[in-house]
């Protein structure tokens, strides 16, 4: 069976190549830092399942140390100039989009075919991981097509990939760090404390104010944790189930579904949701690390208000 470890291994090999190429990049004064950082990332992806929790923990501390003490720089992989790119673009025309579409189309068609034909029941791919596998397959097909069509230098894909990963830098790893922090928070009982505290501010007798505290709690705790998934069980246990559903007889489906979406409004407003907010800022080379968040607040706040109103009017029909 194709397990998700295959995808980890493929990504691990890619990071290992980034590490080696970084090592040889004399234009980067901090090349050893980059090599070590991407090398550890490769190790985690290739061997993380067998290293044991404590060694994985040490690995994460090392990643944090390298990034946190400014030991990473930006490499200068060989690439084309803007003029050359404009020339290529004119010469190749819209055919250039075709390889770009191979990845999404492979992921799309692969997922659909796998789920809606008997193929899926044959157990070829680890359950619920098929999109990730098809994403990798799509990337490999696209690479093959590009090699055959445009005949780039053999190392070009890895060098160009390194150019992008260096532009993102440690932000590429931050989402996983935050997920790990969430696990520590949960295990230390942060959720329970927050739940009790929120519960203690709910005024008696007012359905609307209870909905409001539930929504604010979802959004705020999501902002703190960077993830509505961490907030939902806490707020459901503290307010959603005992007060909104049991006490005031709210519709559990509405409270659950729209409660979660109220948390998503918080996700739009927090740097803790690094993969949605900080990583794209790095990827698009924005000057302001919080630029994406600032562009989202104007949508998140009105939508939050709409969600509160939706819970109030739909759950208590």
């Amino acid at each position: 069976m194709i397990t998700v470890q295959w995808a980890y291994s493929l990504a691990g090999l890619m990071f290992a190549a980034f590490s080696l190429l970084s090592l040889g990049d004399r234009a980067n004064r901090k090349r050893f830092g980059n090599a070590a950082f991407w090398g550890l990332m490769a190790l985690s992806l290739l061997a993380g399942s067998w290293l044991g929790d404590f060694v994985n923990g040490l690995l994460v501390l090392a990643l944090a140390g390298i990034a946190g003490f400014g030991l990473m720089g930006k490499g200068a992989p060989p690439t084309t100039s803007d003029e050359e790119r404009a020339k290529w673009s004119a010469r190749l025309g819209n055919r250039l989009f075709l390889p770009a579409l191979i990845i999404p189309i492979t992921a799309l068609v692969g997922t659909l075919v796998y789920n809606y034909t008997p193929l899926g029941s044959m157990g070829l791919i680890e359950a619920k991981r098929e999109t990730y596998i098809f994403l990798c397959v799509g990337a490999l097909i696209a690479l093959g097509v590009l090699y055959l069509w445009l005949k780039p230098p053999p190392a070009a894909p890895l060098q160009e990939g390194r150019r992008l990963i260096d532009a993102i830098g440690w932000a590429a790893v931050l989402p996983q760090m935050l997920a790990a922090l969430g696990v520590v928070f949960a295990s230390a009982g942060v959720g329970t404390v927050i739940g009790e505290a929120t519960r203690s501010v709910v005024p008696e007798g007012s359905v609307f104010l209870t909905v409001l505290v539930f929504g604010v709690g979802m959004a705020l705790f999501t902002i703190i944790m960077g993830n509505a998934f961490a907030a939902f069980p806490v707020m459901a246990t503290a307010i959603g189930v005992p007060l909104l559903i049991q006490n005031y007889h709210g519709d559990p489906a509405v409270v659950g579904a729209i409660g979660m979406l109220t948390g998503f409004c918080g996700t739009l407003m927090t740097p803790m949701a690094a993969n949605f907010n900080l990583v794209p800022a790095a990827l698009l080379e924005l000057k302001d690390r919080n630029g994406v968040i600032k562009a989202q607040i104007g949508t998140a706040l009105p939508l939050f208000a709409v969600n509160i109103a939706l819970i109030y009017f739909l759950a208590f029909r």
Binding site: L96, A107, V292
Partner: protein
């Protein structure tokens, strides 16, 4: 009162981000402090931190697309995306991003989350297209406008996914809602939950779409 001590980790995170310290260090210190205040040993904290990191490696798989995206950029993909938009006279930042928003909501509602995203589509296609549309309509952009347009492209991707995915019945958050409520004896089918994601999805499209059109108007009105 003492059990409120575990919240110190949250304070560290908030202060660290506010002071613009390196988030990797801030997160690590917050994890260790929270664990110690919660009565864990250092060995247990490091192990737990490592386990949490290791269990979330799925997040890293998406980087697999970088060599392909980088290679396509080498051959002028961003320039090509911009050229296509320059060929469409009616294209504006707002209209283009609204189209992308609806595409993203629609496909996410079918469970197709990873077919697009910041590395896959926003950086190579959507952001350069949006910039080209703005330049075509309004001439040279200053740095603040360029930054804002790129940020809006990323924001549109997020809004599209967040408020589309819960319409799909087999998405993680629907499963989580279902499981959480089931522990209290409310056994809901995923479909019953997913259907209530639709009103918010419509509201998200209306609010974000309106903001995008207002952005068009703001660009139009600025001094030339």
């Amino acid at each position: 009162m003492s059990h409120y001590l575990v919240l110190a980790g949250i304070l560290i995170v908030v202060a660290g981000f506010a002071l613009r310290l390196n988030p990797m260090l801030v997160v690590t210190v917050a994890a260790i402090a929270t664990g110690l205040l919660g009565g864990m040993s250092l060995f247990d904290i490091v192990s737990l931190f490592g386990k949490g990191f290791n269990d979330s490696r799925l997040i890293a798989i998406v980087w697999i697309v970088l060599p392909v995206i980088g290679l396509l950029e080498r051959f002028g993909l961003q320039q090509r995306a911009a050229a296509v938009i320059r060929g469409i006279k009616a294209a504006t930042v707002g209209r283009l991003l609204i189209l992308y928003l609806l595409f993203r909501q629609g496909t996410a509602a079918m469970g197709l989350i990873s077919i697009a995203g910041h590395p896959q589509t926003v950086r190579p296609l959507v952001a350069p297209m949006a910039l080209a549309a703005a330049e075509q309509q309004h001439g040279e952009l200053d740095e603040a406008e360029t930054e804002r347009i790129k940020a809006l492209a990323a924001a549109t991707d997020n809004v599209g996914v967040f408020f589309g995915e819960d319409i799909f019945i087999a998405i993680g958050s629907i499963v989580l809602i279902q499981q959480t409520l089931a522990t209290y004896g409310y056994n809901l089918a995923p479909f019953e939950l997913a259907i209530w994601a639709i009103p918010t999805a419509i509201a998200a499209a209306l609010i974000h779409g309106t903001r995008l059109l207002l952005f068009d108007r703001r660009l139009r009105r600025r001094g030339k």
